[in-house]
């Protein structure tokens, strides 16, 4: 009896602690949402915690008037989709042949690829190559250098290997080429790993920031993260004439509030796909951790 009570106490204590931790995980986000939806006077008085006060959506209205924000969003969507499609094509092209034991030179090519996981030129040599190829200030500078992640390729290979050999052998006896086997047997059976890796690539590209900082100086080609970085760090208001507009308003919008609105704006797409992200990322991480 005594032990049962102790167990119950333990359980409720544990759940309470976890609940507090979960709130701490969400609190920064809720706070920013509240800032973006609160009035300037309430924010300066320090009363905005995780609920908006003096509710209004002016900061969003003002942010959405800024054309460059939409341009960045649109550019990032195009960039992410192009990147993901090309990455998947290239990764499939690399992973499938390398699962074929009979292929001569397979081991060598595998080492050739895996070595790049551990050693690379570094930031400056990468930059010089990008510049030499005339890719600076081009969308391709953010796509081409990252086309195949050796790590994701290995995950894909281990999935391909788990497909029963018999299926392929039967198709081969029927005279199917490797091309045909890949298209008609392997890929249709690999939908889960294809979705998982597409999400890996897409999220990486969406959240990626440093390469655009290195390679892009033209504001027209700012991905969302770089645009956001400028807004957040320079404490600048969105857009060139925002300061003027601000001075004309009766109830000025604080930069904090505008910054918050921009942050929320760029989080929303991630929130929308989060249910899928979570589902596939967990399985993907497992796949990655059990490889060989």
């Amino acid at each position: 009896m005594k032990q049962k009570n102790a167990g119950r106490l333990f359980e409720s204590l544990n759940i309470t602690l976890l609940f507090i931790l979960a709130v701490l995980c969400l609190a920064p986000l809720l706070h920013i949402v509240s800032l973006s939806l609160s009035s300037g006077t309430e924010i300066t008085s320090g009363r905005v915690t995780i609920f908006p006060r003096g509710f209004n959506i002016e900061s969003y209205q003002q942010m959405l008037q800024d054309v460059s924000m939409f341009r960045s969003l649109l550019f990032t969507v195009v960039l992410t989709v192009t990147f993901t499609v090309l990455c998947m094509l290239m990764t499939i092209l690399a992973a499938y042949p390398l699962t074929k034991k009979g292929l001569k030179g397979r081991k060598f090519i595998l080492y050739f690829i895996v070595l790049t996981m551990y050693f690379g030129g570094g930031v400056i040599p990468d930059y010089m190559l990008t510049k030499g190829l005339h890719l600076l200030n081009s969308m391709w500078a953010l796509i081409l250098p990252g086309l195949i992640s050796p790590f994701y390729m290995i995950i894909m290979m281990s999935f391909f290997r788990s497909i029963p050999q018999g299926l392929e052998e039967a198709a081969e006896i029927d005279g199917a080429s490797f091309n045909g086997i890949l298209m008609r047997i392997i890929l249709p059976l690999s939908v889960p790993v294809l979705v998982t890796l597409s999400l890996f690539y897409a999220v990486g590209r969406w959240n990626g920031f440093s390469d655009s900082l290195y390679y892009i100086t033209d504001p027209k080609l700012y991905p969302l993260q770089l645009k956001l970085y400028q807004i957040v760090m320079n404490s600048m208001l969105v857009g060139q004439d925002a300061a003027e507009r601000l001075s004309q308003l009766e109830n000025p919008i604080l930069p904090e509030s505008l910054k918050a609105a921009s942050i929320i704006f760029s989080i929303v797409p991630i929130v929308i796909v989060y249910p899928w992200l979570q589902k596939y990322f967990v399985t993907g991480t497992m796949l990655g951790s059990v490889k060989e």
Binding site: P28, G46, P97, K104, T116, L226, Y229, Q278, V282
Partner: protein
């Protein structure tokens, strides 16, 4: 198999590999040629090939630079503190989650705690710089309301370290539990039942069954984390750092960016990058050897 029939059978596979292999040759091995400028007196107008060799001159130069030494020290300092704080955190959290009996509640906690993993460092930087700001940040406003002085979370270098670590834990603690939770499912349930009949309480069972059950996973990840010590991501210190705390926030990755791409000292930045890669490789190989030994022992 004759050469002819081998080619007839396998040519499609080689054709498939053509683009990927070219990709690695150009974009991964190509820059390795550029590394030679670490041993040259690089001049933009002369290019890589024409610039004169200067041996290890550049390396001698960087070891005389105080800023380089600071960046090197900070890289290890931040990684070490991160290891001390961010490494045990997911283990404790995984043990706590493991004790939750109601599956639905557990799943809700997991869903919430995984989320920060998917947020970019730029956004996390934006969140934390806002929340911890000295005047307008919510934490300091709450402290002021309670009658305390503001704390310079972002402008005092020691407080900044705390901010940096908290941001890291916030982003990674939930996600880090996945691998431990997976390891926990492998523990034999009968052990718990036996311990329960012997009268062991929850804490005792956790300490004597759960923790030893995931010890191999913990050790493996610890060795890997130590192997990663010389590497440091660019985005987190870059986004969170500022000039007031650069005594601690300037690390090798941000140093390379500033001296290379902002100042244009290509030879120096490349040499620093190469130095870091080599140290990283040594650590990694060391970690690899230890893991292999340890894995062998655990089999025996």
């Amino acid at each position: 198999m004759s050469t002819g029939s081998y080619i007839r059978r396998f040519w499609q596979l080689y054709a498939m590999l053509l683009l990927p292999v070219s990709f690695f040759a150009l974009f991964k091995y190509g820059p390795m040629y550029g590394v030679t400028i670490a041993f040259k007196d690089y001049n933009i107008f002369q290019g890589i090939w024409q610039s004169p060799w200067n041996g290890t001159e550049t390396f001698r130069e960087i070891f005389d630079m105080q800023t380089f030494k600071t960046a090197l020290r900070n890289t290890f300092l931040l990684n070490f503190l991160d290891l001390a704080v961010s490494f045990p955190a997911p283990i404790i959290l995984a043990l706590m989650l493991n004790e939750v009996r109601q599956m639905r509640v557990k799943r809700v906690f997991q869903t919430v705690m995984y989320f920060p993993h998917f947020i970019s460092w730029v956004i996390i930087g934006g969140l934390f710089l806002q929340i911890f700001a000295t005047n307008s940040g919510i934490i300091n406003q709450m402290l002021n309301h309670a009658g305390f002085q503001s704390i310079p979370f972002l402008s005092n270098k020691y407080w900044w370290l705390a901010t940096y670590l908290v941001a890291g834990v916030w982003q990674s603690v939930g996600w880090g539990t996945i691998i431990y939770l997976a390891a926990l499912t492998g523990i034999n349930k009968e052990l718990y039942e036996a311990a329960e009949t012997d009268g062991a309480g929850r804490m005792k069972r956790m300490w004597h069954i759960t923790l030893p059950g995931i010890r191999p996973t913990i050790l493996m990840l610890l060795i890997l984390a130590i192997g990663e010590m010389p590497r440091i991501g660019f985005e987190r210190p870059f986004v969170l750092g500022n000039s007031m705390v650069s005594d601690f926030s300037e690390v090798l990755s941000t140093f390379v960016y500033k001296i290379g791409l902002q100042t244009g000292e290509f030879s120096i930045a490349t040499a620093v990058g190469l130095f870091q890669s080599v140290i990283a490789l040594v650590f990694l190989l060391g970690a690899n050897t230890i893991t292999r030994k340890f894995a062998d022992q655990s089999i025996v």
